[in-house]
C-alpha cells in the first residue's frame, strides 16, 4: 500500500495532540482561564505566559486549551446533526427515486441557496444563543450538502448486481437500503464529513465571533478572536494565537479528508 505524504502525519499528529488537549486540557492548563491581571493586558509571550496574555491579562494558552473542548465537541455535534438529517434524506431520495427524489432534492436546493451562516444566525436567534443550539443549527444547515453526496453515491450502487440479488432472497427494501446500498456508497460520505468538520469549525468560530456561540465566561476560540479584534490596529499580535490554532485545525481536518479521498479512489 502506498504511503501517505509526511504532511498527512503532521496533520494527524496535530489532531491527536488536540484530542489529547480536549480530554486532559482542564488538568494540563497552567492557569485558571478566568483569572485576570488587568495590569498586564496584551502581555507578550514569556516563560510564565507562553502565548502572552489577552485584553484582560488572562493567559492565552490556558484559554485556547480550555476552548479546544467546546470547539471540537461543537464540531462533532454539527457533523452528527448533519449526518442524522442528511444521510437518511439522501439515502431515501436516491434509493426510492422518482417524484419522491425530486421533492426531497428541491427542498435541499432551496436550503442550499440560502446563506448558511445567516440561516444558523436566524435559528440561534429563535432558540437562544448557546453552543448546542448554534452547532445543531450549523449541522442542519449542512445536512442538504451531505444529502446530495449520499444521493449521488446511492444512485451509483443501487442497481449493482449485489444489490439486485438481495431481492431474490426476499430481503426487505429497508434492509437493502441500509445494509447493502449505504455501506457501498460510504466512501464519498466519509470524505464529505471530514470536509464538513472543517467547515463547521469555521462556522462555529464565525458565530462565536458574533457572540451567538458558547456564552461567557467559557473561553472559546471564536470569542478569543472577537475579543482581540478591536485591538487589531494597536496590538495585532493578540489575534495571531487563536487565528493560527483555527487555521491549523481546519487545514489538518482537510488534509485527513484529502488522504481518505485518495485512498478510497485508489481502492
Amino acid at each position: 500500500m502506498e504511503r501517505a505524504r509526511p504532511d498527512f502525519y503532521l496533520a494527524a499528529a496535530f489532531l491527536a495532540l488536540l484530542a489529547f488537549v480536549v480530554v486532559f486540557g482542564p488538568w494540563l492548563a497552567p492557569y485558571d482561564p478566568l483569572s485576570q491581571n488587568l495590569r498586564n493586558p496584551f502581555g507578550p509571550p514569556t516563560w510564565a505566559n507562553w502565548l502572552g496574555t489577552d485584553n484582560l491579562g488572562r493567559d492565552v494558552l490556558t484559554r485556547l486549551m480550555i476552548g479546544a473542548r467546546p470547539a471540537l465537541t461543537g464540531v462533532l455535534l454539527a457533523v452528527a446533526t448533519a449526518s442524522l438529517v442528511g444521510v437518511p434524506w439522501g439515502l431515501s431520495a436516491g434509493y426510492i427515486g422518482g417524484l419522491f427524489d425530486n421533492v426531497l432534492m428541491r427542498i435541499a436546493d432551496a436550503l442550499l441557496v440560502f446563506p448558511g451562516l445567516i440561516l444558523a444566525l436566524v435559528l440561534t436567534a429563535v432558540f437562544g444563543p448557546s453552543l448546542k443550539t448554534s452547532m445543531i443549527a450549523i449541522g442542519f444547515v449542512f445536512s442538504p450538502i451531505l444529502a446530495r453526496v449520499v444521493r449521488s453515491g446511492v444512485l451509483v450502487v443501487r442497481n449493482r448486481d449485489y444489490v439486485q440479488v438481495t431481492k431474490l432472497y426476499g430481503l426487505s427494501g429497508w434492509h437493502r437500503m441500509w445494509r447493502h446500498v449505504l455501506p457501498n456508497a460510504a466512501a464519498p460520505i466519509i470524505v464529505q464529513i471530514t470536509l464538513l468538520m472543517g467547515l463547521s469549525l469555521l462556522a462555529q468560530i464565525g458565530l462565536g465571533f458574533l457572540g451567538v456561540g458558547l456564552q461567557p465566561p467559557n473561553p472559546s476560540w471564536g470569542s478569543a478572536l472577537a475579543e482581540s479584534f478591536p485591538y487589531i490596529i494597536v496590538s495585532p499580535h493578540a489575534s495571531l494565537a487563536p487565528g493560527i490554532v483555527v487555521v491549523l485545525t481546519v487545514l489538518s481536518l482537510y488534509r485527513i479528508g484529502d488522504e481518505l479521498r485518495d485512498r478510497f479512489t485508489r481502492d
Partner: protein, 514 residues
C-alpha cells in the same frame, strides 16, 4: 506604526474601499466626509429615540431654540425670542422673519404649531405631553399653553421636539418621512444608501447661513471600530466620531490627525429592570452597586485616568452632593458590605443575575462583563452573561423583560430634569416597571415649576441623594467623546452632550482662499 499594524490597517482599509467614496467629497469641492459608527435609526424626529441619530438630525433640521454647546443654556434658534409667563404655564415664542423649509414651504407659526402637535400626538417620547394647546397669534407669534408649570420646556424645544418639520413634506411622504426628511436645517438630504452612506447638500435659505462654510457633507457608516479608525488614519474620512479609545495610540501617533477627547454627558451603565425579582429590592440594588469597582472598569475601558471618572449618578451631581460623604460612599467598591446587604435582603448564599450584553461597542460587551463578573464574585453575585446583537438585546431587556440587567450606555440630555424624569419619574419612559420612588415625583414637579436656579439646585441635590439611595440604574463612569479630525479642517463645536453637530466644520485652505 509597526509594520504589522500598517498591513492590518491596509487590509481594513481595502475592505472600507469596497464602498464607493461619494463622487463630490473632498476639499476641492468643499464637501466634508464624516465617519460614524451608526447609521440613523430614523430621520423623522418624532419617531426617534436613539441618541446616535443627532449628528444627522442637527444637519437636516433647525430647532425652535438651541443651546450653548458648552453650558447647555438656551439660545435662539428658529425663534428669535421667547418668554414664560410668571406662573410658567404659558410660553410665548416669536419666530424669525422670512423662514422657509427646504421644500420652499413657508415656515410660519402655523407650520410650527402643526409640527409640535404632530410630535405631541404621534411622537414616541412624551416630551410634549405637558402641552395643552397652541394658539397662533400671527404668522410669527405663537403661544403654547401648558397643563402645569414646566420650566424645562426650553430644553425640550432645543431637542427633537423642537426640530420643525415641513407639513407639506409630511403630508406627501406620510410614514416615509424618515427616508425623505424635510426640515429647515443647514443641509438637505440628497441620497441615503442604506448600509453605506448619506450625502447632504447645503440649504441656501438656512436662517444662520453665514455660519455654514461647506457645500455639502457625506456621512459614511462604518460600524466596525478598527475600520473606522483605519478610515480616518488613511484620510478616507476627514472626521470620525465615536472612536474606540483602544485605537487612540495609533491615531495620536499620526501627524495628519488631531485627536480630541472631550468630556460629555454620556456614560456607561448597567440598566436594571425593576419588574423582575429580586431587583425591586433596594438592598439588592445597593449591594450590586457596591460590588462594582467603577475605577478599574473605567481604566480598562477608556485608559487609565481617562474621562471625568466613576459616577453613581446619571447626571453630573450638584456641587453640594458631590462634596458629601454619601457621594464618596456611592462609588466605593466594597464587596464585603455588599455581601452583608445581600444577606439582609434574604440572599445569604448569594444570587445569580442575568445580564444582556452586546459585543462590538466600548464597555457594552464581554470586554466589561468579564471584569464585572470577577468583581462581583466575592460579594456572592454570579453574573450570568448572554451576548446578543444590540437590537435583540434591547428588545429582550426592554420589551420582553427576559433580563434583570442590561449592559449599555446613555448619551445624556441637555437638561438634568429630562434625565431624572425619564429614568426616575413614575411615568418616565425608562422607568419600565413604573416604580414610584419616594419624594422623586414631588421634587421633579417643584423643579418644573421654578426657574430660580438656586432653588432648582437644592432640589437637584435632593434628587442626587435619593438616586444613590435607590440606585434605580447603575451608572458606571463618564465617557468622553473620542474624535479624530484631519489637520486640514477646523470649526467644530464643543459637544458636551456627546452628540456632535458637524455643520460648522470647514476646510482651512478653502477659508484662506476667501
Amino acid at each position: 506604526m509597526p509594520v504589522v499594524s500598517r498591513v492590518i490597517a491596509l487590509m481594513l482599509l481595502s475592505a472600507a474601499l469596497l464602498q464607493p467614496r461619494a463622487s463630490l467629497a473632498g476639499a476641492s469641492n468643499n464637501v466634508l466626509t464624516i465617519g460614524l459608527a451608526t447609521e440613523p435609526f430614523t430621520l423623522y424626529p418624532a419617531m426617534g429615540v436613539g441618541g446616535t441619530d443627532y449628528p444627522y438630525l442637527y444637519s437636516l433640521f433647525a430647532r425652535l431654540l438651541t443651546f450653548d454647546p458648552q453650558t447647555l443654556e438656551p439660545r435662539p434658534g428658529l425663534a428669535e425670542s421667547w418668554e414664560f409667563s410668571p406662573d410658567k404655564r404659558t410660553f410665548k415664542l416669536k419666530l424669525r422673519e422670512n423662514l422657509t423649509f427646504q421644500d420652499g414651504t413657508a415656515l410660519d407659526a402655523e407650520a410650527v404649531k402643526a409640527s409640535l402637535m404632530n410630535f405631541k400626538e404621534n411622537g414616541r417620547v412624551q416630551d410634549l405631553e405637558v402641552v395643552e394647546a397652541i394658539e397662533v397669534t400671527d404668522s410669527r407669534n405663537l403661544v403654547i399653553k401648558l397643563n402645569r408649570p414646566y420650566s424645562p420646556l426650553t430644553a425640550i424645544l432645543a431637542d427633537r421636539a423642537g426640530m420643525i418639520i415641513s407639513p407639506t413634506a409630511l403630508k406627501a411622504a406620510g410614514k416615509d418621512f424618515d427616508r425623505k426628511p424635510v426640515g429647515a436645517g443647514p443641509f438637505m438630504i440628497k441620497t441615503w444608501t442604506a448600509g453605506s452612506n448619506m450625502e447632504l447638500v447645503r440649504f441656501p435659505n438656512y436662517y444662520d447661513k453665514d455660519k455654514i462654510k461647506l457645500n455639502g457633507m457625506v456621512f459614511r457608516f462604518i460600524a466596525n471600530a478598527p475600520s473606522l479608525a483605519s478610515a480616518v488614519l488613511s484620510g478616507q474620512v476627514d472626521y470620525a466620531f465615536g472612536l474606540d479609545p483602544k485605537n487612540l495610540p495609533a491615531l495620536k501617533a499620526n501627524p495628519r490627525l488631531r485627536v480630541a477627547i472631550e468630556p460629555s454627558l454620556s456614560l456607561n451603565q448597567i440598566g436594571i429592570y425593576l419588574g423582575l425579582p429580586p431587583m425591586e429590592n433596594v438592598l439588592v440594588r445597593r449591594a450590586l452597586s457596591m460590588s462594582i469597582d467603577r475605577e478599574v472598569l473605567r481604566d480598562a475601558m477608556l485608559g487609565v485616568g481617562a474621562g471625568e471618572g466613576p459616577t453613581a449618578n446619571m447626571v453630573p451631581p450638584t456641587q453640594a452632593f458631590k462634596n458629601s460623604p454619601q457621594f464618596a460612599e456611592s462609588i466605593k467598591y466594597d464587596p464585603v458590605k455588599a455581601k452583608q446587604l445581600l444577606a439582609q435582603a434574604g440572599f445569604p448564599n448569594g444570587l445569580t443575575l442575568r445580564i444582556c450584553a452586546t459585543n462590538g461597542g466600548v464597555g457594552t460587551g464581554t470586554d466589561i462583563t468579564d471584569i464585572e463578573r470577577e468583581q462581583m464574585r466575592p460579594a456572592g453575585i454570579n453574573l450570568d452573561v448572554v451576548v446578543m446583537n444590540s437590537s435583540a438585546c434591547l428588545q429582550a431587556y426592554n420589551l420582553k423583560h427576559e433580563f434583570q440587567l442590561w449592559q449599555g450606555g446613555w448619551s445624556g440630555r441637555p437638561h438634568r430634569f429630562m434625565t431624572y424624569s425619564q429614568y426616575f419619574g413614575t411615568n418616565g419612559q425608562y422607568n419600565k416597571a413604573r416604580t414610584k420612588f419616594p419624594g422623586v415625583d414631588e421634587a421633579l414637579e417643584k423643579i418644573a415649576a421654578t426657574d430660580d436656579l438656586e432653588q432648582q439646585e437644592v432640589l437637584f441635590a435632593e434628587l442626587d441623594r435619593i438616586w444613590v439611595e435607590q440606585m434605580p440604574v447603575l451608572p458606571l463612569f463618564w465617557r468622553p467623546n473620542f474624535s479624530a479630525y484631519s489637520t486640514q479642517i477646523a470649526g467644530e463645536m464643543p459637544n458636551a452632550q456627546g452628540k456632535p453637530d458637524p455643520t460648522t466644520i470647514y476646510f482651512i485652505a478653502n477659508e484662506k482662499k476667501k
